[in-house]
Symmetry: C2
Subunit: 558 residues, 2 copies
């Protein structure tokens, strides 16, 4: 059974058949508007899905990016209606925006798309957005594949390696995950997964109900909605044990604290799916379509990220466009408790405080970090930050003035914002900005380790290669940048994402070969966490981005 | 601001403009298919909404009634696809079905629609269903009207009457609610409400957090989504104190146990709305679109009914097409807890057991009564019944053999099913059929009172007038029908619905003037609850159906 994002087949020029089949809802004037050949429409649709939908949405209502519907009517405060939309912008203007980007944060795509592709895309977004199909539980169940039967799972590690210091590494565009021995630095295997895996999650230690052998099983979610299960006790060639597809477009996955369930969160259809963590059999689908905190219905209300709470039998599901965190209780999935916590938009990614009670997540369009109290299942606080916070796996440490603190990098500017996060021990500092650090460029990730004196920030979003290729190391004691390290100077590569090894003595940074991402020219550069000197490289990786150390991730070391 | 169900204005013959504007999703062949003039389309759309949408849905996916989309593809077990739908049935066949009904439960509409209306309706349902618009919180807030300011609410009853024995009576087609003095039998006022009010709810006694003066404030929900607030302490001409519209199509309303909030449940948009019970200001909207217990996405997942739990700070929201009971906790609406309890389809109406812990609700397409444990917020049991159970306000009593029991009438046949409902005192009988009673005809309502030896069942769904006009009185002691009472013999009227007075000495039955429902020719016929003899009539009512005694309803007397 094929479950690619096929949409309904129809004529691709804008006639009656097209509009009827695809459920278009916009401008009547389009009947005489821009058209594309069937091939150009299909190619643009696929390219839009891969390059544009993440920010603008498949229905083009906008989120991180702007609304891209053909006709958009906005009612102003005085009651007058202003008509905008892509038809009004027109072909020439749209081509320029796509090619060159905007100061509002739109990337330039002149490097990524051909001139023909840009021309067709400008036309495509003046046409009605086709609505992709739904996906039923039965369809999902039919996609499940088992490579190693549960009865054949090993009862002890088969490779004699220190698997708790393994690193599981996303090889983004190749649709693979690499497993690296953190002790020997050997690449053990490249496991085929879904396309452009966003996050990988392991079974973790949990205070109520432990899974067996936390950190043994890892689960990936591809952008194409394919989830895979990886068993680190297997010999490398057999580590991929099963897979299932639960969406056409997806971002995140998490394991329940007891190791019984996994949950996959989707962009389209907008839903999450609870599956059996052993068999990968999908069991339950919950739609996230809903009404946002402003009181407006949002069809494309997408699951940005999902996290397992360390002390409650719950997951935190960030429903991006609703501005709501849904705390989903997995202790009885037939009587599914969900606490819908009103926060801010648009929710993106986050991390727990050191106690595991409070979850700190970016609401990037609001320039805020939102704090959820997972014990009380309610909003704890909202902290104003710099533009477009993006912490990734985040960082917690102890500041000499503010006590326990956490920090985030920002997509919008070169700033690290640091806030207090110990409401019991330091109520005066809690959820208030402690200080900010000006870095050289906007970045994606911040990271530290309890045994380290520093926290690290990348600058991957800066337009200049030299800054993009450099990371900055900041002192926990002084809040000063102590070193700027240019990780790579190879054209078309960037430095991105950090992970410490299990004992905190090494920092692993990705040299992300963006421009030839399907070639094994990417590397991980390893630094001594104390001297900040390079001590080694892992080569032969396909566009390595996120890295996950087994011990740190399964023991909540942040 | 007008919020009638206007849809988007567009050409009403099936051209490009129509399909584009209304977001149609079905058959491409329709471009050459049946068409209607703009006037005929609009008239059919309105008639469909009033007469057909309740069972078939505005999007025509079906629920109690069949799917009515132009093209319906069904995949059989062997993988072959069968194409059906209204286009396949065709004009002539559809006209006959609408006019004459079917054995499957479709009513005959030859009495209700003209020949022209039937012809146009047969055409209309072969065309794509237009999708009605959404409704935002801001739109709802703009519809609020206050007739009596809160500051002007009286501090004691202004009329010197025994308001706790008032009856609040639905005057269905007139869009009114009558208030009747149960002691004197005087009709005090006909209050204008929304169209075809389905249920009225009062503030009630609650074990955790009492409202002030339970039973004083009553809330109505019209089919048109208009909610009104009634103050029984006012002089009759001022009893309507405020109103607000929260949907285009709606069925039920409930008050929180603490009297602070009201919740309105809608058919379209599929959502519920929490409002301030004092001011009627809408505060929060929650979509009920979701994935049903089979794992399929349902856009038109409608709120069939809502009930206040007597001992928990929650409402039970029956989401009809999902087969789920949502237990919604109102103690913190910014961090809204919802327990989504998987049950059976299609959920309709129900009632609590005498302890107030267990809620018993009909899943009428499954021929089951579903029991929810409101304390544990989970499914307790499912009981098989006769065809299409419909208990209305229901009845609980004590059976000599089975102990505490409850019963339901059925839309599908003349049977009363009785089951045990005391899992603590009578675990062997609990949630099992105790016995069944064969009555003369299918009915809508069953009712009793703790002080009465009998329970009463109506037969409103029977096709023969004589049976439809008769009710049956059944002994609690023997389970035998002790008397059949013909309440009315006026052509075009039916006997429907019972309510006891506060002390249980009288039974009030509606003589529902269906055929001239906009005239005040309806009556309530009052019987002595012991002798079963008629003791009086309340005349001058407009199509009276449901009746609600203030004391009984606000004190959970069932």
């Amino acid at each position: 059974m094929s479950l690619g994002i096929t949409y309904t087949k129809a004529r691709r020029t804008l006639g009656v058949g097209f509009a009827l089949l695809l459920g278009s809802t916009a401008a009547p004037a389009l009947a005489e508007g821009p058209t594309l050949s069937e091939e150009a429409f299909d190619a643009s649709k696929q390219l839009y899905f891969e390059q544009c939908a993440g920010c603008h949405g498949v229905l083009r209502k906008g989120a991180t990016g702007k609304n891209l519907e053909p006709v958009v009517k906005t009612t102003k405060a005085d009651g007058t209606v202003v008509e905008g939309g892509t038809l009004k912008l027109g072909q020439e203007r749209l081509e320029k925006i796509i090619a060159w980007g905007t100061e509002g944060g739109m990337n330039n795509f002149s490097d990524i798309m051909t001139e023909d592709q840009i021309r067709d895309m400008a036309t495509y977004i003046q046409m009605d957005p086709p609505k992709p199909p739904e996906m039923s539980l039965t369809q999902m169940q039919a996609t499940r594949k088992v490579y190693v039967e549960e009865a054949d799972y090993p009862t002890e590690p088969l490779h004699g390696r220190n698997w708790e210091n393994f690193f599981v590494v996303i090889e983004r565009d190749a649709g693979k995950v690499a497993v690296i021995d953190g002790d020997t630095k050997e690449v053990l295997v490249h496991i085929p997964t879904g396309y452009a895996v966003h996050v990988i999650k392991a079974s973790e230690h949990h205070s109520i109900s432990e899974p067996e052998n936390p950190g043994r099983f890892w689960y990936t979610m591809g952008r194409d909605g394919k989830m895979t299960k990886i068993d680190l006790w297997q010999t490398p060639d057999k580590m991929l044990v099963s897979e299932v597809k639960v969406a056409y477009d997806a971002r995140d996955v998490a394991v329940s604290g007891d190791g019984k369930y996994i949950i996959g969160g989707a962009y389209w259809p907008p839903h999450f799916v609870i599956s059996d963590a052993v068999t990968m059999e999908p069991l339950k689908v919950v739609s996230t379509r809903g009404v946002n905190t402003e009181g407006d219905y949002v069809e494309e209300a997408r699951v940005a990220a999902i996290y397992t709470t360390p002390h409650e039998p719950t997951w935190l599901v960030a429903v991006k466009e609703l501005g709501q965190m849904w705390q989903v209780d997995y202790s009885d999935i037939d009587n599914l408790r969900i606490d819908k916590i009103d926060t801010s938009r648009f929710l993106h990614d986050g991390f727990f405080d050191p106690t595991g009670r409070y979850f700190q997540i970016a609401a990037n369009a609001s320039n805020q970090m939102v704090v959820v109290d997972s014990k009380e299942r309610k909003l704890e606080a909202i902290i104003d930050t710099a533009a477009l916070p993006h912490p990734g796996p985040g960082a917690n440490w102890v500041d000499p003035n503010c006590g326990p603190v956490a920090g985030t990098t920002h997509l919008g500017e070169g700033t690290v914002t640091v806030w207090g996060n110990d409401p019991e021990g330091h109520p005066d500092q809690a959820w208030k900005t402690c200080y900010e650090v000006e870095t050289d460029g906007a970045g994606l990730f911040i990271r530290t380790h309890p045994n380290s004196d520093y926290y690290w920030a990348d600058q991957t979003k800066h337009p200049e290669p030299e800054v993009q290729q450099s990371v900055q190391v900041i002192s926990k004691e002084t809040g000063e940048i102590v070193k700027t390290i240019q990780v790579t100077d190879t054209p078309g590569t960037a430095a991105v994402h950090f992970e410490f090894n299990a004992d905190g003595t090494e920092v692993w940074v990705s040299k992300w070969n963006m421009s030839d991402s399907l070639e094994p020219n990417g590397e991980i550069v390893i630094y001594d966490a104390k001297t900040l000197e390079e001590i080694g490289r892992v080569k032969g990786l396909y566009a390595p981005t996120g890295k996950f150390n087994v011990y740190n991730r399964s023991n909540h070391v942040t």
